[in-house]
Symmetry: C2
Subunit: 358 residues, 2 copies
């Protein structure tokens, strides 16, 4: 694999990314400054095809990069273009300053911005580190008659809250007793370990009203579930229709369906966790596990919003997506985040203990 072949391959991929049409030898011969005739290029192209970096849609058409070709391109030839769009940098900065408990809001705005500047659909999700979903403390705040706000703080630093309904005659004192018991008994437990058996044990304590305890426990469990499920956002689905590779409406429908399901992001997440911790993850065509994504590529990055919150943002596009630009935008985002995002955010210190707030 000599240098010239690499140059030719790169030129072909660049061209194909731009036009979406199979590229021929004449075209490359002219574009490339090596003074080579189309015939020579053809020979090289035939070699590249044999090596598996190119494919031919049909005999008399030009060449198209194979997944392997893209992979080589992404791994070795990517020189991220500078994104000099000051406006989008400013927008990014502003978004990232959205504060921590508005993580979901921040994600929503970030997906929109990214889909606008890249022209691809975006998926973003907050990564929950299940192992660390250990209860640090549980607080109950009566808000109105019948309504109590349950606030669960986890060791990982996230705060789930939910309003629950308790019997009308529940007194502030009764609720206080339950709060005390829960804070001491649930501390250190995983949320997932809350079950009927635990409820039974707890209800044996003095002065605990089961008809208040049960909705509280249910509220704790649901606060987390709700949190997880709300935390995936997509935007720019319409961009799918921009690309001729998805002009077949059945294909487009599949992709848009995937975006709406949001399930496939899990795949990416696990992939990334397995990965070598590189800053960006790229999955090309057949590298995607999901069969429906065989014609797509995903470029994803993780972002540490603060020491306990990590966000994953993925760009979905056709295999011939503009990797250079996408990678550069995602990197920019990261750099903005490092300069700005951490400012003023809580680095996750130990909080008050149960008694402190009285």
């Amino acid at each position: 694999m000599d240098d010239r072949k690499l140059k030719i391959l790169e030129a072909i991929i660049d061209e194909y990314i731009q036009t979406g049409e199979p590229v021929g030898s004449r075209n490359i011969s002219k574009k490339l400054d090596l003074k080579l005739s189309p015939a020579t290029i053809r020979n090289e192209m035939a070699d590249l095809e044999e090596m598996g970096y190119l494919e031919q849609p049909h005999t008399s058409a030009g060449r198209v990069p194979s997944d392997r070709g893209y992979r080589l391109y992404v791994d070795t030839m990517l020189s991220p273009r500078e994104v000099d769009d000051r406006e989008s940098l400013a927008a990014m900065t502003e978004i990232l300053e959205s504060r921590i408990d508005e993580l979901s809001y921040m994600l929503q705005r970030a997906t929109r911005l990214l889909s606008q500047i890249t022209g691809y659909p975006i998926v973003a999700t907050a990564q929950t580190d299940d192992d660390r979903e250990v209860i640090k403390n549980v607080q109950l705040f009566p808000v109105e008659v019948e309504k109590v706000m349950v606030v669960v703080t986890t060791e990982a630093g996230s705060i789930h809250n939910r309003i629950i309904l308790v019997p009308e005659d529940a007194t502030v004192e009764e609720i206080g007793v339950i709060a005390k018991v829960l804070s001491s008994k649930l501390h250190g437990l995983e949320i997932s370990s809350i079950d009927v058996a635990l409820a039974n044990t707890l209800s044996k304590h003095d002065g605990i009203r089961t008809d208040i305890l049960l909705p509280v426990l249910q509220g704790i469990v649901e606060s987390r579930r709700r949190n997880e499920e709300h935390r995936t956002y997509t935007d720019g689905a319409k961009n799918v229709l921009e690309y001729p590779e998805f002009s077949d409406s059945a294909r487009a429908k599949e992709i848009i369906g995937m975006l709406e399901e949001k399930g496939f992001i899990r795949d990416v997440v696990t992939h990334m966790e397995d990965g070598e911790g590189d800053d960006l993850y790229v999955s090309i065509g057949s590298e995607n596990r999901d069969e429906k994504m065989q014609d797509c590529s995903i470029v994803a990055g993780t972002y540490d919003v603060d020491s306990t919150h990590r966000v994953l943002i993925g760009v979905i596009g056709p295999k011939r997506m503009d990797y250079a630009r996408v990678v550069s935008v995602l990197r920019d985002m990261k750099s903005v985040m490092n300069r700005k995002g951490l400012k003023g955010l809580n680095p996750g210190k130990q909080g008050l203990t149960e008694g402190d707030r009285e």
Copy 2:
């Protein structure tokens, strides 16, 4: 406009809704049990066209309903089919039992279910009655070092909450003082009336730390804004691609873009508020204000989740959408809601006053 014409018009619309192809006289002559020859039908069709209920895509094609035709159909000929799908009724029931503070979660699940059973894209939003966004009380709960949960209860009965960051050295007492002052001073004010001037006035009170007060006030304002913006959900965008009228990918892109923008739902909302309070709202083609929606119809209904929360759910489809089925599904939803939805929900009584929770 005699009875026979109506029968013929109905048959034509039914047929067109089913097939999406212009319908001819022969077809109707056979389908209709009136013993009429195609020629007679043709005469009637010509009349109906003259009256504006039908259109002809081109001279030698069959007839297609005009917007006016659909309107007549919807207003006078709709006999909602029974939806005998027990499973979806059960699913609806379960969804509607999602409790009140999970309104957004409930909406999300409802949109998904509806898009699945109707096969159309769905938009759902919670209607905020801006005039009633009057503060009933404000509560502050210290959750951790630097983090305080602000809970705003409005006269309308909704509860907004948000976590804010305060200076590290803020004490529970200092926060308590601010809570007391805010509760008495903000009571009865609209959230939108909070501004710099008000902040200045408030900060003159004894013992108020401005560096705590400001983030709290900002939190109150933002808690509401965030609430509003989060409260529109869409699902089933992929269904747009199901219908040949949107096979032109530019059209499809516009519609999907509209769904993602979510802005247009406001139009529907205002329309519905102007309306005669009928239970369902139908807007057909050119009746839609938005130019991009000229090829669509919207069927929407409002649902009172409880005495203070109203939800709007809209079905977007091509003009030849299956009105009978959609109307019937939305009505079913309403009836499920009346039987089940209100069970156990708080009818919005007066809550505790500020002092009660200490």
